[in-house]
Symmetry: C2
Subunit: 222 residues, 2 copies
DNA sequence: TCGGAGTGATACGGATACGTTTCGCAACAA
DNA sequence: TTGTTGCGAAACGTATCCGTATCACTCCGA
């Protein structure tokens, strides 16, 4: 490493232990430092291939050579920028997007249904869904993947938690409702179907969950 | 195989495509056919080692040699009885026990709390818990593991579902309650904490879940 | 006692993946 | 244009695991 002038992305983005001469690099809005567009292209292609491999063969069976072959790049291009499998997987997961849009208007029931339908769509079919088993497996083996995974999941959950919490405070939901437990009770069944029960996931499930579980203050008995 | 007189456990227990001379073998209550106690001992030791390996390194990274070393047996002893990794893992998972005892008396609230506390204990720490990520991963890669996993989980779930259903029918729980959704809402959060959120699992969580989610007919507003 | 069967150890050839190195080519910045 | 740099391809030695085969030993049932 000390004799190389190439950029190790992981070092740059996570530890800042190497910084190219500030006068010679451009810093874009997303915080990446690139001189040569070939680098960014390789990075994107490789990380996409990592996610595809993780979805196909899982964490334990994923190999650098398999990723290189899938990405259509040389093995050396991967080793040039990442120390090993672990850091590669970490970076790959960081590119996963699972954004949830919260409607600004409407009843709490309809707003929660909307968000939960997005969750159902995401879990039913997405890059994230395909990688979930591999992500759970990798989290079990490596603490830094675990940290990332937990932070990722908790941030997604926070969107729904704050929505529920504000509805409790405004009186739309029954007082005494624990927002975090309620959110887990809404989202948990969807994940269970995907990971444990092997049952299909539809948008209708989102509606059923909300109507069964949401403790509406106006109609406490359903 | 056709020249061997040894017993392939998988064949015997799953496909019945080989049956030793009935006059020379003993059939015990659990349906296993054994002449030589060495066989049963090997089987037990090996399958225990498989579960330990699965918990430690996961499905993709588990190797026959690793299992043999851990079990303290020769590799040949494993290959003598199982065709390969897949069948070995399937048999290993079949030995996992996760029984739930349902109290016969008490309020529905207390009975559900009792069962859910058992679930929490199981998910917090058990052989099953240790193997869950590997089981989820293996289910994703192989249909027969998936079938087993889904059946296993669904049978456990059925215990709680029937408990809830009978409470709905007896009027203890609010009419209109969907037993399956409610059970998933109770159990799902526990699995989420274990697999996704990385949060601790305590018995207190079982109580909180029940008191937040159980739609008691007598006190519909909690 | 005795023959048969299961056992652990060991070795094998083949395959795969590791991480490194070298090399000529093409894309890049200046 | 020119020097630099990232690139893909290939080969390298090492290590691991595959699935099979052999062997001497020991345990078992008859």
């Amino acid at each position: 490493m000390s004799t190389s002038t190439s950029i190790n992305w992981r070092s740059v983005t996570r530890e800042n232990d190497f910084m190219p001469d500030a006068a010679t690099v451009a810093t874009d809005a997303s915080g990446s430092f690139e001189q040569d567009p070939r680098v960014e292209r390789s990075r994107r292609i490789i990380l996409e291939a990592v996610l595809a491999e993780l979805g196909d063969v899982g964490y334990g069976s994923m190999t650098i050579e398999g990723v290189a072959a899938r990405a259509g790049v040389g093995k050396s291009t991967i080793y040039r920028h990442w120390p090993g499998k672990l850091e590669l997987v970490e970076d790959a997961f960081r590119t996963v997007k699972a954004e949830l849009a919260v409607p600004e208007h409407g009843s709490i029931r309809d707003r929660v249904v909307s968000v939960l339908e997005q969750v159902a769509d995401l879990v039913a079919e997405s890059t994230y869904s395909a990688c979930m088993p591999a992500l759970i497996e990798a989290s079990e083996r490596d603490p830094s993947v675990r940290d990332f995974h937990c932070r990722f999941s908790t941030e997604r959950r926070a969107v729904l938690v704050s929505l529920i919490r504000s509805a409790v405070e405004s009186g739309e939901l029954r007082a005494g409702t624990d927002p975090e437990i309620l959110v887990d009770a809404l989202v948990g069944p969807i994940l269970m179907r995907r990971l444990i029960l092997g049952l299909p996931i539809t948008r209708a499930i989102a509606t059923e969950l909300v109507d069964q579980l949401l403790p509406l203050a106006s109609t406490p008995a359903g």
